[in-house]
């Protein structure tokens, strides 16, 4: 049951989906579970809407986890966020205000096929699991498959590469489903967050060029507040800034796509660590990593309710 669910271990896709059904069943007043499509291998793409049911046109924040299969701390954080939101609604006034005024759309595992494959067969699988009939290699980098500067520098057009952009933009049903949902509801979405791992950074557009985004001041201060909040938990320092200068120039990612369709605050978190455990972050570090990241996400969400 949900109360016995262990948020401090990694869970298989099946366990995560059962947990989502249970959370949806036990908290109907603030949770609504739905599917936005099916994956290449036919798995449902579940999303949890978290927030006090009230007027339909509430502002919204989207958080997706598990774009890259091997980055297990992502799905762990998405589950942690849902648990904290539900448990703290009664006694945390900040979370209660956020959930009264915002809807959070949490997608614990975007790349469901890849995640399952990383549990059962190859721990270091990164991509989706789509087949390319001309090559024996499978999978597309779901963060290089978005319709923005698609397949340019920093992505590969070779199906066997880990940064393969796919045969065409949104070729991956998982990416297409998320893009379709966000496009359909874009007026309500004020923030988009994608959770990744292995750099301890908070990145915002652009990835594909050195130019500054039009609302740079507001986004930069939101990022600064977020990493300050994150640091306050355990003193872990995150770098933050435009992805092109903070990390490297790469072709358009989901964050760039979200910004381009008009979502004013688009971020990509790169969670712990920076190269001690790499993708194998031990379960003992799930709690501190998720605790600090939750503070950062709450800081960004709180910023949405203020004027910048």
């Amino acid at each position: 049951s949900e109360s016995h669910y262990d948020y401090e271990v990694y869970h298989s896709l099946e366990e995560i989906q059962s947990w989502m059904l249970e959370v949806n069943r036990t908290h109907p007043e603030i949770v609504d579970m739905f599917s936005i499509g099916t994956s290449y291998e036919g798995r449902p793409l579940y999303v949890l809407q978290i927030g006090k049911r009230s007027r339909p046109q509430k502002k919204a924040m989207w958080i997706d986890c598990g774009v890259h299969a091997r980055e297990w701390i992502g799905p762990a954080f998405c589950q942690w966020f849902v648990k904290e939101a539900i448990n703290s609604y009664q006694h945390d006034s900040v979370m209660r205000r956020l959930m009264n005024q915002l809807n959070f759309y949490i997608m614990p595992v975007l790349n469901v096929d890849g995640y399952h494959y990383s549990w059962t067969t190859d721990r270091f699988w990164r991509k989706t699991r789509s087949k390319n009939h001309k090559y024996h290699c499978r999978g597309v980098d779901a963060n290089r498959n978005w319709k923005v500067k698609w397949c340019e520098e920093g992505a590969s057009s070779h199906p066997c590469d880990d940064t393969y952009c796919g045969p065409f933009p949104e070729s991956e049903p998982e990416v297409r489903a998320v893009a379709k949902f966000l496009r359909k509801n874009k007026k309500r979405f004020k923030a988009y967050i994608s959770i990744h791992a292995y750099a301890q950074m908070l990145l915002y557009p652009y990835s594909y060029k050195y130019a500054m985004i039009p609302n740079f001041g507001c986004v930069e201060s939101a990022a600064q507040n977020a990493v300050t909040a994150l640091y306050s938990a355990y003193g872990v320092r995150y770098r933050y800034g435009p992805a092109s200068t903070t990390l490297y120039v790469s072709s358009g990612s989901s964050m760039d796509w979200a910004y381009r369709i008009g979502i004013q605050y688009a971020f990509a978190f790169e969670l712990r660590d920076t190269g001690y455990y790499g993708f194998l972050l031990p379960e003992a570090l799930i709690n501190p990593t998720c605790t600090e990241t939750l503070r950062a996400v709450k800081a960004i969400a709180t910023g949405l309710l203020k004027k910048c």
Partner: protein, 99 residues
Amino acid sequence: YLYNNRYVGDQVFRVTPRDVTEVQVLKRMLGNIKVDLWQPNSASLIRHNATVDMHVKLNDTQGLHAHLKQEGIAYNVFISNLQKEIEKQTGYRSARRRR
């Protein structure tokens, strides 16, 4: 064993190329052996003074050690046996499975 013990002896190397020459040598090296780049995501993104972490299969580790030494490129191994780290990451899980 998790993943049928397939990662026994695999290692993760960390190299920080000091200059453009070392970047080119490293890219050429990586063109000859199959590694799984942990960071950056692709060889084309390798820059000098930027960390490169790569997962190397057991059979290629000795060759890469020798090649890096021969080229005078400084490196270290931050995961010396990947299978052990995997067991440790989800040690709870396998224990859970045993339970």
